[in-house]
């Protein structure tokens, strides 16, 4: 990585009670790069995503975004950064059941002060780019899981974020619906030069990324081999 990274972490440490989730993790993500963070359950992938996105503060270490340390920022400042620069997509889209698809997608723009009409126009455009324009006035309860996740993706992208954080975005979908959501995600990210941090435990999904960062027990797993990391274990198993 020759140019300065867009997003980086240095020596990140985070524990929940006595359980360590991150144990001194360091990484860099370049602008417009699509990075897959992989590893088994409990390896710290989601915690890492939450720290990078400013959702939680690490216990120690630094998170730097566009040359500025953000880990020490107040909740209010991190929240503003998330609204202006970041988009987040979770396994379950967390779209609001009482609102239609278009209202859901327009929500981040309305929160940022955009006028109602302009926000709806933008929402309709994003729903169209995700192939669900016909669902604009449909509530989530009447959509399939894949359709709901496409709406959630539209909502995550409607503010045209610099970074999209996606935490197991296809985990709740069947294979084809998941492929379609991911296909849209990667295509739109490339079109917009959006940086993507994609958390997944599935190799197939990691295949959509430019690069993989494998984790194990809250640290980088340099060879991605998980439990096989410490060489001594194998000798004993023979």
């Amino acid at each position: 990585m020759t140019e300065e990274p867009l997003l980086s972490a240095r020596g990140l440490v985070k524990s929940y009670g006595k359980t360590p989730a991150l144990r001194g993790l360091t990484l860099d993500v370049a602008a417009a790069e699509i990075v897959a963070v992989t590893g088994p359950s409990g390896c710290g992938k989601s915690t890492l995503l939450h720290c990078l996105a400013g959702i939680v503060r690490p216990d120690a270490g630094e998170v730097t975004y566009r040359g500025q340390r953000i880990d020490g920022w107040s909740e209010g400042a991190r929240s503003r950064l998330r609204r202006s620069d970041f988009g987040v997509l979770f396994q379950f889209g967390q779209i609001v059941a009482e609102l239609t698809a278009a209202e859901n997608v327009a929500l981040p723009l309305l929160l940022a002060g955009t006028g109602r009409r302009e926000a709806r126009t933008a929402a309709l455009s994003w729903l169209d780019r995700l192939g669900v324009a016909d669902l604009a006035d449909v509530p989530p309860g009447e959509m399939s899981g894949g359709q709901q996740q496409r709406c959630a993706l539209a909502r995550a992208l409607v503010t045209e974020p610099r970074v999209l954080f996606a935490d197991e975005p296809t985990g709740a979908l069947d294979t084809l619906a998941g492929e379609q959501v991911l296909g849209h995600l990667v295509r739109l990210a490339r079109e917009q030069s959006t940086t993507v941090v994609l958390v997944t435990h599935e190799p197939r999904i990691a295949g959509y990324a430019d690069r993989e960062i494998a984790l194990r027990d809250g640290l980088r797993d340099p060879d991605g081999l998980g439990a096989f990391g410490p060489a001594s274990r194998v000798a004993g198993a023979a």
Binding site: P40, P203, G207, L225, A227, R233, A237, A238
Partner: protein
């Protein structure tokens, strides 16, 4: 793969000459093992001899004269029978990858085993990325996507199995050395 039945299948939509069959084959099965012209003509010769196809006319455009072949009733019956047969699940238990991983895990030289597994995993991931790029290319045909899906599903299964195996071995080691 049965070249015979694939050619019969390509003739199901109407008579074609050897060149068209070769072109259709490459278009419909873009990632299949390459099919040589010689193999197409040799197979057509056998199919005609066995009464599964019959000459359906001559065509001369700019080049040499070409004979079109059509499916006969017997050919269609043979194709239907082939399509109705369930393929035996692939015998992956005999794969070289499995043999190498087992030998690597059993080998006393842990570093060598680890080097092999790291390189194997990386090779699988690189291929997975290449195939994902093929199928997400806006110009990809349905055939490209289906063929890439097939290969990706197998690589994904290999990688999952590789991880599970590694975890099993680590658990076993911990039990033995507890």
């Amino acid at each position: 793969m049965s070249t015979t039945h694939v050619l019969l299948g390509l003739l199901a939509s109407g008579p074609k000459h050897g060149y068209e069959l070769k072109r259709d084959h490459d278009h419909r099965l873009p990632r299949a093992k390459p099919l040589a012209f010689g193999q197409v003509y040799a197979t057509l010769g056998r199919l005609e001899r066995d009464g599964l196809v019959a000459a359906a006319g001559q065509e001369r455009a700019a080049g040499p004269e070409r004979t079109s072949f059509a499916l006969t009733d017997r050919g269609r019956a043979s194709l239907d029978e082939w399509l109705g047969q369930v393929e035996p699940p692939a015998p992956y238990v005999s794969s070289t990858l499995l043999a190498k991983v087992i030998v690597a895990l059993l080998a006393a030289d842990a570093d060598r085993a680890r080097t092999f597994l790291t390189a194997q995993r990386e090779a699988h991931m690189i291929r997975l990325r290449e195939l994902t790029a093929v199928k997400t290319d806006p110009a990809a045909s349905l055939g490209d996507v289906i063929a890439a899906d097939y290969a990706i599903a197998h690589l994904d299964a290999d990688l999952r199995w590789l991880h599970t195996t590694i975890d099993r071995v680590a658990d076993l080691y911990r039990e033995v050395h507890a």
